[in-house]
């Protein structure tokens, strides 16, 4: 049975390669390669002088964007005035740098259940994204993720730590 299967496979391979050979023979005569695109390729491949590359890098290398975390009230996901101020500034920066992508991470303090907080973190990240989109930033540039209460920045069990942990973090990708 197995030998039979193998034979079939070899036959198929044989037929296919025969076809390929035939096709290979015919093709040049039917469709000769068009030389039209060659100049374009040459232009792309052409490399500028070394000093120009160096100049380009020095001049255009953008400072990586950095914005502080925004914070939320206990069990809330609405944006506070301070958060809106940060996001307005962020929208300006993103507008002037259309190639920069943003990832917003939503986080919670430890006091709820992990299940509920995973959803709450998502809402916190989404709220910031909505703000940026309404400020004219293309929603495709913004990715959100919730870490719920899984990634505290302060491991303490007090109001100070909790206030720090209820946050959105912003990661910019050039």
């Amino acid at each position: 049975m197995r030998a039979f299967k193998l034979t079939i496979i070899f036959v198929i391979i044989g037929v296919l390669s025969f076809g390929a050979i035939c096709g290979g023979k015919k093709e040049p005569t039917l469709t000769p390669p068009k030389p039209v695109e060659e100049p374009e390729e040459e232009v792309e491949i052409e490399t500028p002088p070394a000093e120009e590359i160096a100049k380009f890098e020095v001049e255009e290398e953008p400072e990586p964007l950095e914005f502080p975390n925004i914070h939320f009230d206990f069990n809330k996901y609405n944006l506070k005035p301070e958060a809106r101020a940060v996001l307005r500034e962020m929208a300006d920066s993103l507008r002037s740098r259309p190639d920069t992508m943003l990832r917003i991470e939503g986080h919670c303090d430890e006091r709820g259940t992990e299940q509920y907080n995973l959803a709450l973190g998502e809402k916190r990240a989404l709220e910031a994204k909505k703000f940026l989109v309404s400020a004219g930033i293309d929603s495709d540039r913004i990715d959100i993720i919730s870490y719920g209460e899984e990634r505290p920045i302060d491991p303490g069990h007090n109001e100070e730590a909790w206030a720090k942990n209820r946050r959105d973090e912003f990661i910019f990708i050039e």
Partner: protein, 445 residues
Amino acid sequence: MNISQPKTFFPLVIPLLLLALFTVEDSPAQSDFYGVIRDSGGAVPQLNIAVAKFDITGDFYSGDEPEKAAELKEKIEKGLAFSLYFNVVTADSSLMALIGEREMNYEDWIYLGAEHLVGGSFYSDGILFHYNLEITDILRGKTIYTTEFKAPIDSVNQLSYKAVDRIINILTGEKGISFSRIVFSVASGNIKELAICNWDGSDLIYLTDNKSLNLFPTADRTGEEVYFTSYFRGNPDLYKLNLISTELAPISARKGIDSSPAISPNGEYIALILTVDDNAELYLLTNRGRIVRRLTRTWGIESSPSFSPNGREIVFSSDKSGSVHLYVTDIEGLNQRRLTFHGNYNDTPSWSPKGDLITYASRESGRFQIYTMSITGENVRRLTSVGNNQDPCFSPDGLHICFVSDRNGNKEVYTMNFDGSNQKRVTSVENAYNPYWTPGIAEER
């Protein structure tokens, strides 16, 4: 084990019932037996049972056969006591003094109040342990059941699980949960891996090693498929891990979270929290991940579903009222009703497989405590008081609850009886989360 502590549950009708058990005409149906236990008031109807010292027959291979036989006896006693169907009677010091060097006899067991005696013989053939189980009705002085169990050498645990489940089945008609296991998350730094252990904490193994967050494990009724949320490809998506084939399959990897799954009793459906429509809502999916329907439409957060044993209803949490409370919906998304009215944060419900109770965690003065209530939301009872106690989940027989507690510093998995008695730590992993009590795959064979 002291089970007579709380006011309700479990009458002492058992001696009568037992007599009936062995007169063929009156043999009660399994559900009747259970109904008697759970529905009427009083203490647990425990049968008084004793485990005799096992005879050792055959040749000695490793030489530690007497120790293994003693270990088996001890584990059978532990399993019988844990099951809640039995009060395990042991010889007290005054009786031992009276007996002296001679072997215990029926009169001694009767004196101790035992109604049934588990005895038998134990031997090793160098490859397998053999245990000949013998159950004797002491009052009638008659052996009512014998059988032989085998298990790989050194697997006294397995031998004891087999024996305990058989004894439960022979004397009560119920199905034991000796092979049931607890699957949970273990945190270490920023990562959480899944682990699984027996109900008593033994044989702990890790199921994942992907150095990411693996959360909210749950399992189907066969105990074979574990569903969980994992970040190992970046986004919190739903995966299924087959514990026999070890095959891992993505089930739902939608935009946003794919969180806190529950599997319907027939294994056909998954209840899942999704944010595909931007807001966290409860959805019903097929077991392959296709959305059947969205069950909630609120501005709030829905979370933590658990199916009723007939699969028709789902209990879940929602903060649509302004605080987090428990609700029930049917799987059509209709007939939704609110169940909890106390406190302001009730989450992580687990519906008893027997159908009569729902257990959940409620936050009060910054800490979670575990509660049970009837499925109508009445008879609210608090079961824990020390430390933070979270993520309760019923055992497959509905008689126990596992949960996480930090009462001794670290977060560990604990078990207790459904009435809150007999609270015991079962793990020592330091950072346990989200335990789910799954039926055993290796059921008695």
